[in-house]
């Protein structure tokens, strides 16, 4: 066995150099053998370039293996191989060119090439070029992702080299874009950078802004006379202006070592405390040191005695500020580049502003459709019938919980939503009818009592829900096809759920209009609400109509509940969150008019989003100001946006 091994070894020893002759990749490696063996970050560059520039098909594999520390050198002849660990410190060597196994060797006969992290980075950069030209488009896309995540100067050339041969148009566009971004950051030629910068004028991409913003980043500095010539000055600053307060300006001087630090109140107190002698500091009794003036007196006494350093006086501070020049400088030294970047960013900011406006409008629209959805049932019970139902929110909640329960039984989300929508309608319709029969019909024309009685029902239903489902939020999951968002560009997007709610709101509007205008029920409802006695004398049963109308309004609230449950968390307090806004929507819009409700929802939705935009950190404040606005609005249009005028409106 040992003899056999030895003979193979011997054979290979002879065959080795011969193999290098007709093995171009091995030849390249051998040419750079010294550099590879030295394996120093400073000198390895030419070797990497030689391999990657060789144009050989194995070049990429060699670099990858090298980077992964899987490239080995046979000590005996210095040839390079790939290797596999086959256990007990023995490795099977594999010929780089052919991929054929060459034989097994003990670890002692081999040297592993161990590139340090610096070299691995350089290899990685060289590899990018191969990855960018990989036949698999997915790998090419990965490489682009990697570059845009973590770009380096070295990527630029590789990227440029790969554009011409790119076959996939999508990837080609991405490469071209990335090339321009890298140009901004890394191209040594200012003209090329400026051209690239200008090409991004009005571009909405976050990557473009990320590439441009560092160019215009500034730092503040202070100097004794004029700012140095070689710095790219953004602007001069005057201490005491909005851009630079006097305190900040003085801090700059202190940081630059141009002025002594100011004495803070804490430092002063500490200094005084450190020099208490016989209950006195600088001649001032300690118990008198409870005013700023007394402390100043004590401190200057100490300073005069030389025990503490003198504090800068106001006059000295003012003198220091006036004798220095303050300015902002760009980190980027080329003024032409910063100027171009500022111009491009200005154009982008304008366009982003426009698109943010569009995004805000979409947001407002979707909030409006949620309010509309929550209010449309109320537009029927309160708007048409004049019945104020404080338990309306609890009907919404019932709808949402119906969706949740159905999902527990039917695991398919699409199917469960399709079952839950009609089921919620039926359940809340029944609840509405029951409530109308048992409570509300005894209280027609007594709206204040109706308000309080339905409030009683509301708190009872809420507590019931709490008892059944617990206080924690229950999930109502939307089907997969509602996940994600419709993305217009980096600024404007809207989630599919919101689109679905919008569509649902439109569907309800259409349904409402159809029922009220085209069906017998609608006709009878209008007759009963306008003149119950006359309607009754014409053979319409007002009791039945009231019951059905109230049921309809409640049923719609239930369906709205399923939709709202998809979007918000389902708790027993879900309804409460919407009830006041819903009433506001109906009142602001004008009672008794569905278009008014639509306008009211739009107004309230846009208003809330608008106020949130002005003060994005605080949605509570937005709601507060929105309600205040509504209260004021009702002052000027007590009957809402669309007011029924004259005698028809009644009093």
């Amino acid at each position: 066995m040992r003899i056999l091994l030895a003979s193979v070894y011997l054979f290979l020893l002879i065959a080795g150099p011969a193999a290098a002759q007709d093995n171009p990749i091995q030849q390249v490696l051998q040419e750079n053998r010294d550099l590879l063996e030295e394996s120093s970050r400073r000198t390895i560059g030419p070797a990497i370039d030689a391999i990657s520039d060789s144009g050989l098909p194995q070049a990429q594999a060699v670099l990858e293996k090298w980077q992964a520390k899987e490239l080995w050198q046979r000590e005996a002849d210095g040839l390079f191989f790939f290797a596999e660990d086959i256990g007990s410190d023995t490795y099977r060597l594999i010929d780089i060119a052919t991929g054929a196994p060459v034989g097994s060797y003990d670890e002692d006969d081999l040297d592993q090439l161990k590139p340090n992290s610096g070299i691995r980075g350089m290899i990685g950069a060289a590899l990018v070029r191969f990855q960018l030209m990989d036949p698999d488009p997915a790998k090419r896309a990965d490489a682009l992702d990697a570059i845009s995540r973590d770009a380096e100067a070295s990527h630029l050339d590789a990227l440029r080299g790969s554009i011409a041969d790119e076959t996939d148009p999508g990837l080609k566009a991405r490469k071209a874009r990335l090339e321009r971004i890298l140009t901004i950051a890394y191209d040594p030629d200012p003209a090329a950078r400026i051209a690239a910068i200008q090409s991004f004028k009005g571009d909405l991409g976050v990557d473009a802004r990320a590439a441009l913003n560092p160019l215009v980043a500034t730092t503040r500095a202070a100097v004794t006379d004029a700012p140095p010539e070689d710095e790219n000055i953004a602007r001069l600053l005057r201490p005491g202006s909005d851009a630079l307060s006097e305190v900040e300006a003085y801090a700059l001087l202190v940081d630059a070592g141009l002025a002594p630090p100011r004495l803070s109140l804490d430092d002063q107190r500490a200094a005084l405390a450190a020099h208490i002698e016989n209950g006195r500091v600088g001649g001032v009794p300690v118990d008198r040191l409870d005013t700023v003036a007394a402390r100043d007196r004590a401190y200057s006494a100490l300073a005069d005695a030389g025990t503490v350093p003198a504090a800068a006086t106001e006059a000295e501070v003012a003198q220091a500020l006036s004798s220095h020049v303050f300015y902002e400088r760009y980190a980027e030294t080329d003024p032409a580049v910063t100027e171009a970047a500022n111009a491009a960013l200005g154009a982008i900011a304008f366009k982003v502003g426009l698109n943010q406006g569009a995004d805000l409008a979409l947001d407002a629209l979707s909030l409006a459709s949620i309010y509309f959805l929550a209010a449309i049932g109320l537009a029927i019970t309160f708007g048409v019938m004049g019945v104020i139902n404080m338990a309306h929110g609890e009907f919404i909640m019932m709808g949402a919980y119906t969706g949740y329960v159905v999902q527990q039984v039917v695991p398919n989300y699409t199917a469960s939503i399709l079952i839950a929508l009609p089921l919620a309608f039926v359940l809340t319709f029944a609840a509405g009818v029951a409530m109308e029969r048992l409570v509300i019909r005894w209280l027609y024309n007594r709206p204040l009592e109706t308000l309080l009685a339905t409030f009683g029902i509301s708190i009872a239903l809420q507590q019931l829900a709490k008892n059944i489902f617990g206080t924690q939020a229950r999930p109502l999951t939307s089907p997969d096809w509602l996940d994600g968002a419709l993305v217009f560009n980096d600024v404007v997007s809207i989630s599919y759920i919101r689109i679905a709610i919008f569509v649902l709101a439109l569907a309800f509007l259409a349904l409402f209009l159809f029922i009220m205008r085209r069906t017998r029920l609608g006709l009878e409802v209008r007759a009963v609400t306008q003149n119950p006695r006359m309607a009754a004398s014409m053979g319409i049963n007002p009791d039945r109509i009231n019951m059905l109308t109230f049921g309809l309004g409640s049923g719609i609230a239930g369906v709205a509940g399923v939709a709202i449950g998809l979007y918000a968390k389902v708790t027993s307090e879900l309804g409460q969150d919407y009830i006041v806004q819903s009433f506001m929507t109906v009142v602001v819009g004008g009672v008794g008019n569905i278009w008014g409700t639509l306008l009211g929802a739009t107004l309230i939705g846009s208003l809330q989003k608008g106020i949130e935009w002005l003060n994005p950190s605080n949605t509570l404040a937005a709601q507060t100001y929105m309600i205040l606005f509504i209260i004021l609005f009702i002052q000027f249009r007590p009957r809402g946006i669309i007011a029924l005028r004259g005698r028809a409106a009644g009093d």
Partner: protein
């Protein structure tokens, strides 16, 4: 004789319907006047305008010797100026006694603060008793007004109007739903009242108007159709057309 109330060129429309159309009307300080007209002639709207309930689209409503405009005042200010109104259906405060109703109507300072600290004087009580006597409700003083008969409520309301001591009384269909005897009493009350102040009676019932024996104004489609004594207007061709149809 200067007029107490002068309505000139007043128009008002609801949703395109001209309820009052360039109406002009005048009444002196102590005069009884009846206004008649078919349904929708604008009788009630006319009263609404004078009492401040409805704002006209155009025109003037001038009041008293100083020619103050009533259009700039709200209902309660107009009432304090001396315009009293009696509604078609008797509207008294049914949860309160006849005495309280009359006491509330008595001409006094109406500001919240002075009402809060108001204490009934013997004179006030005597005045209430006197009014109750006049409207025939002396022995009902401490009953809740909600328990009165329909006619009694009408009188109570007239009594409250008298207690207000208005310069102008607007009375909307006072005889509706009354028995014959009650009507006679009502006629007397109104005639008596008209001796010291202006009284405008809106009425459907020709017989009742005839009994009042006063000048009559006929309204039609929001404008004055005819004016004069009851015999004069009932012979007017147009009035006959309007009332009987063509």
């Amino acid at each position: 004789m200067t007029s107490l109330l002068e309505v000139s060129g007043v128009s008002v429309s609801f949703d395109g319907f001209n309820a009052i159309n360039n109406l002009s009307f005048e009444i002196g300080p102590a005069e009884l006047r009846a206004i008649i007209g078919p349904n929708g002639a604008g009788k009630t709207t006319f009263m609404d305008i004078v009492t401040g309930k409805t704002r006209p689209d155009e025109g003037h409503v001038l009041w008293g010797g100083m020619n103050k405009s009533l259009l700039k005042m709200n209902e309660s200010q107009i009432a304090r100026e001396g315009v009293g109104r009696k509604f078609q259906r008797p509207t008294v405060f049914e949860d309160q006694s006849v005495f309280d109703n009359l006491m509330m109507a008595l001409k006094k300072n109406r500001a919240p603060w002075s009402v809060l600290f108001y204490r009934q004087s013997a004179a006030d009580r005597a005045r209430v008793a006197e009014l109750a006597e006049e409207i025939g409700l002396s022995d009902q003083l401490h009953r809740k007004s909600g328990e009165l008969s329909h006619g009694q409520k009408q009188w109570l309301e007239i009594g409250m109007l008298l207690a207000q001591e208005p310069k102008l009384l607007l009375v909307d269909e006072p005889a509706a739903g009354m028995t014959l005897a009650e009507r006679e009493h009502t006629t007397d009350l109104l005639k008596e009242a008209a001796k010291t102040r202006a009284v405008v009676v809106v009425e459907h019932d020709m017989e009742f108007v005839r009994r009042l024996g006063c000048k009559v104004t006929v309204l039609h489609e929001g404008a004055v159709l005819a004016e004069g004594s009851i015999d004069h207007v009932t012979q007017n061709r147009q009035v006959i057309d309007v009332y009987l149809g063509r």
